[in-house]
């Protein structure tokens, strides 16, 4: 989807501060949110790609307001509610009760975890399809706009690059996140010049990005 999460090359975000004394979890709830997020994929019967898409589906203010673990927590809750394991509003109601509000908790709903087949643990797969593109070949990233999950960032779409390496095949996030199949396929690291991506005035640099075979076409 064309959302806020797709940040490559967007402007207006200010400067980056490094805190050399940063704790792994700056606040205690960050750690709990992290651990619950890891657990949420199993509890909701989803997967890592669905978890990433769940973050993308947060409203931008929710995505930004409570930082990284804020968006993980909101996403964990979303996946668990989507699966019917908890009722919509259950977490909010419990949280309000915890701070003394007299609200009713919703009744449980029917569990409806996504039904789909996984071809194994993790994301890498052995496939028999030979790579369609070869190292050194000129390729172009497809130009597409879709409402669902994809790992083809907007800043690459329509641009020409060169295949740098062929990586292990992996499940396609675009279908895995929506439980419509794994569609495992070849993955390539593709090299782009900064001027190709950002225009003639761009800073000199080389950009490498991993693209699934279906994101690419021969040039």
């Amino acid at each position: 989807m064309d959302g806020l999460h797709d940040m490559g090359g967007t402007q207006g975000w200010g400067t980056v501060e490094i805190d050399p004394n940063e704790a792994v979890f700056a606040e205690e709830w960050h750690g709990r949110a992290f651990a619950l997020s890891l657990a949420s994929m199993g509890i909701s019967g989803t997967n890592l790609d669905a978890f990433r898409h769940g973050q993308e589906r947060l409203h931008p203010l929710d995505y930004l307001s409570n930082g990284y673990y804020g968006r993980w927590l909101a996403c964990a809750e979303k996946l668990i509610v989507d699966s019917g394991v908890l009722a919509p509003g259950a977490v909010e109601a419990r949280a309000r009760r915890m701070r003394g509000e007299n609200v009713e908790e919703p009744s449980d709903v029917e569990v409806r975890k996504p039904q789909y087949e996984r071809g194994g643990a993790g994301s890498l797969r052995e496939i028999s399809d030979k790579p369609k593109f070869s190292v050194g070949q000129s390729v172009k990233a497809k130009t597409f706009r879709k409402s669902g999950h994809t790992r083809l960032p907007a800043y690459i779409r329509g641009h020409a690059g060169v295949v740098k390496a062929i990586r292990p095949a992996a499940v396609l996030p675009d279908s895995t996140a929506h439980f419509t199949g794994e569609d495992a396929q070849n993955v390539y690291t593709v090299e782009f010049t900064s001027t190709e991506l950002w225009g003639d005035g761009a800073e000199a640099a080389t950009l490498f990005i991993d693209l699934f075979e279906t994101y690419m076409e021969a040039l």
């Binding site: 975000w13 927590l73 909010e92 994301s123 993955v187 080389t206 991993d210």
Partner: protein, 199 residues
């Protein structure tokens, strides 16, 4: 498909995380000790000290360095490092003329088995957005001024490959042991927003 933003009196994340855990524990779907285990693992056992061992070994052992570049995941497993977000690790080496830097513009993918969980700056929209468009300027702002003749190579971790930077070994470290070398190797150098310095 997406949701509207929360009301202003929406409970804080602190409260919601407690509420979520309580609801799941009541239903027997998580055990608090399991959550403690996840947290402890990434607070205590998995962090940049892992990556530093890999780099130090690569600096002193040319055969290991070769295996590391050719087949990162397997070489790293020799040191016992593997796990989530480490299915396929690709090591990119800095040279006198190439500086590598890693990002995930779409979320914040990061090589957990070697570096633990990513620091705030890595997850910051300013980092995610700018490092692919104006890396030299951004690195300068972050304290790393690269010579003009050094080419910057940016690696956007958009699939399941995880990139890890093998920094240049600084001068005047010939006398240091592998452990002493590991002690000077920083997280930021292994992501590529810093270089390793001596004392």
């Amino acid at each position: 498909m997406t949701e509207n933003p929360r009301p202003t009196d929406y409970p804080s994340p602190q409260l919601r995380v407690e509420a979520l855990e309580a609801l799941l524990v009541e239903r027997g779907l998580v055990k608090p000790e399991m959550l403690d285990g996840f947290i402890n693992r990434y607070v205590n056992d998995v962090g940049p000290m892992n990556g530093a061992k890999v780099v130090a070994k690569a600096w002193v052992d040319p055969d290991f360095r070769k295996r590391l570049i050719e087949s990162g995941t397997e070489a790293i497993k020799e040191l016992g490092f593997e796990g989530p977000q480490g299915e396929h690790i690709v090591v990119v080496e800095n040279t006198a003329t190439v500086h590598n830097v890693v990002v995930c513009t779409l979320c914040s993918c990061y090589p957990w088995p070697l570096l633990g969980l990513p620091p705030d700056w890595y997850k910051d929209p300013a980092y995610r957005s700018r490092v692919v468009r104006e890396p030299r300027k951004l690195l300068g702002e972050m304290g790393l001024d690269l010579a003009d003749e050094v080419e910057i190579q940016v690696w956007d971790s958009s699939a399941e490959n995880r990139y890890f930077v093998l920094p240049n070994r600084p001068k005047r470290t010939e006398g240091l042991s592998e452990d002493e070398l590991a002690a000077i190797i920083t997280r930021d150098a292994m992501v590529g927003v810093a270089v390793v310095k001596v004392g």
